[in-house]
């Protein structure tokens, strides 16, 4: 398991960063142009034939820029679900459309889903990516169904994180096409891939927060000295940096595990449960160390705080991932005790 960034990955990061730093044009088409949306899709399905390691590098950059693109939802999650059902030609067709960049798709589950999700035959709340998706992937009674979003009721909701806007989705009454193959396993694959890649996004967010804070502390003077010369503040950013070193290692490991299929469940839940608190703390500390300016709408910091905090809920909170880990690492809970994850109204395995 190589946890470093390869030269190819470093180049990829640089070109994605260049692209994201230029706010003048619509980001998604340009990401598609460089193939960033289909990195881990096999070449025979129209993708780049790279791996989740490269995909995770793009996710880091999207975190660093809090970019509002359907990368996680379409390029990672919907793609992972369809890849799982690729024996069905309709899944294969859609996958190729996604890989070509001519369409995006969204999995119709609440963004907070991890080990359970509601049946999609009724109203599904807080779905990410649905507002811009061309096709919705809806889990209904164990099968994944395709629904053109034009046929569904997609209602925008006021989202805590405006950079990943949510919608309530209702496909009851819409014509749906059931894909053959194990729909639940496909959803699970999508959630695992999403969670693993999301850890890298959190690393990107934390990286931006640390870098921006360090720059601010060097620049801003109080009491005749740069803020960054005050030891209490230095120690706090040193601690942040320390956490980020660890977070990056877990995120790289998760991306590698998604690629190799080795150690995947543990690697993903370790990364998810470790990286989210680091990203949230980085954003919170960054705000505090910026002082008043960090409380303003005008400063970009709040986008990072909101994205980091929403990501902490997305695809399983840290506590839920810890509960997932318990049996995997042979650390059982109290005898006869509750597992730690709240029951969901409609639980699908």
């Amino acid at each position: 398991m190589n946890l470093l960034y390869s030269d190819v990955e470093t180049d990829l990061r640089a070109s994605v960063a260049d692209l994201l730093g230029d706010h003048s044009t619509d980001l998604w088409p340009r990401l598609v142009q460089v193939g960033a949306h289909a990195l881990h899709v096999p070449e025979e399905l129209g993708g780049q034939g790279a791996s989740y390691r490269e995909t995770a590098v793009v996710a880091e950059e999207l975190g660093r820029f809090v970019s509002p693109v359907p990368f996680l939802t379409s390029a990672v999650m919907a793609t992972a679900a369809l890849t799982h059902l690729v024996d069905d030609p309709r899944a294969r067709d859609l996958l190729q459309r996604l890989a070509s960049g001519s369409a995006t798709a969204a999995l119709v589950v609440p963004l907070s889903s991890w080990d359970s999700w509601p049946d999609g035959s009724g109203l599904v709340q807080s779905v990410a990516g649905a507002l811009t998706a061309d096709v919705l992937l809806v889990p209904i009674e164990g099968r994944l169904h395709l629904v053109p979003s034009a046929d569904a009721t997609v209602t925008p909701v006021v989202s805590f994180d405006n950079s990943r806007p949510l919608a309530d989705v209702d496909v009851s009454g819409s014509p749906t096409t059931a894909l053959s193959g194990p729909g639940d396993a496909a959803v699970r694959a999508a959630l695992v891939a999403g969670a693993g890649v999301l850890a890298s996004e959190q690393v990107g967010i934390a990286t931006w927060c640390l870098d921006t804070t360090v720059a601010h502390l060097k620049d801003r003077h109080q009491f005749g000295r740069p803020l960054g010369s005050f030891q209490a503040l230095k120690h706090r950013v040193a601690d942040l940096w320390q956490s980020l070193v660890l977070a990056r290692a877990t995120a790289r490991h998760a991306a590698t595990a998604l690629t190799t299929g080795d150690d995947t469940p543990i690697a993903v839940s370790v990364a998810q449960s470790f990286c989210s608190p680091v990203a949230v703390r980085a954003a919170e500390e960054s705000l505090q160390l910026h002082g008043g300016i960090g409380m303003t709408w005008e400063h970009p910091l709040h986008h990072y705080l909101k994205r980091a905090k929403a990501n902490e809920i997305a695809l399983g909170t840290p506590a839920r991932h810890r509960a997932t880990l318990a049996p995997l690492v042979d650390l059982p809970g109290p005898v006869g005790a509750f597992s730690g994850a709240p029951p969901s109204p409609t639980v699908v395995p």
């Binding site: 609440p110 963004l111 907070s112 709340q125 807080s126 909701v157 006021v158 989202s159 805590f160 994180d161 405006n162 949510l166 003077h221 109080q222 009491f223 005749g224 000295r225 740069p226 005050f230 209490a232 503040l233 949230v280 919170e284 705000l287 505090q288 002082g291 008043g292 300016i293 960090g294 409380m295 303003t296 709408w297 005008e298 910091l301 709040h302 705080l305 909101k306 905090k309 929403a310 902490e312 809920i313 997305a314 909170t317 506590a319 810890r322 509960a323 005790a337 509750f338 730690g340 994850a341 709240p342 029951p343």
Partner: protein
Amino acid sequence: MSQARELVAALLAAHDPATSERLEFLRARFDAGLAWVHFPVGLGGLGAARAVQQEVDEALAAAGAPDNNPRRIGIGLGMAAPTILAYGSAEQHRLLRPLWTGEEVWCQLFSEPGAGSDLAALATRARRDGDDWVVTGQKVWTSSAHNARWAILVARTDPDVPKHAGLTYFVCDMTAPGVDVRPLRQITGEAEFNEVFLTDVRIPDSYRLGEVGDGWRVAQTTLMNERVAIGGRAVAREAGMIGVVAETWRAHPDRRTAAAHDRLLALWVEAEALRLAGVRLRQQLAAGSPGPEGSAMKLGFAQLSQALSGFEVEFLAEDGLRYDDWTMRRPELVDFTGRGAGYRYLRAKGNSIEGGTSEVLRNIIAERVLGLPAEPRVDKDVPWKDLPR
């Protein structure tokens, strides 16, 4: 004490709260010396002990008397009034009556974009011109500025001396030409505060509070009263943020987990500890030995609000992903626990910044309470204009 009781009875007899016009009643109360009893006679007070106030307030509230909506005019009551009383001329003392009745709202023009924790480094310039001062600069974090008739203002009158020595304190007419108030939107979406741009604003020298160059000392009076105000509130068990979050917990049995349960209980205990420390602090104040525990309260309040509101958003999970409204509102009163969980989370971030950052509080505790030596200071003897910025 019985004097106050008699005066309350007389006020109520002369101005039946049921029939009196609100403002008329408040003015009469001020004139009776029942506004702030520890103020001097003639300025809304009786020269009585602070402790008498509570009895007066309770008696008037029991009789259904209107109050002056103190939260709406907190800066006037808590910060401007004690400073005007301590440093004001007789002419300036006339500002106190409409201040107390709420006819005239006050705001505070202290903080600047370049001078936050290091308030004494502020750059707004006041240049003498005949009987006036001409003021130019930018102030920030000004609540109520858009409603305010008056402001308390600190400006730099001498940039050639060390930063603390070159400041002067003024009363500023917010309707004067050159005062430009712009809403300052926060991460919550609200614009609770303002930026205030001052461009060649003329302030008569008679609006100066204290001596020229003495602004830092005058401002200390203002700020000390702010801290007392923050530390002094009585709260019931499970009041404030803990109450809201506990209700969220009770309302969502389906979302509870055992780990979250222990975490919430720990926060509940911390909230109760903070409440008890507040009770103890007020008992110390009442016993005449105030002590420095107020800074512990403010530190703890900020930490707890942030921990609780962060917990709530995570606990709500799917619902925590939603927000109530991002449109730019202009609330007249701040309510840290109002609106939704997302708002509470974001607003609480300000609690460790506004009114003295937690970092400055820790410095104060370490140096003034624990007596630890100050860090090396590089800005004490340098003319303000030569300080690195």
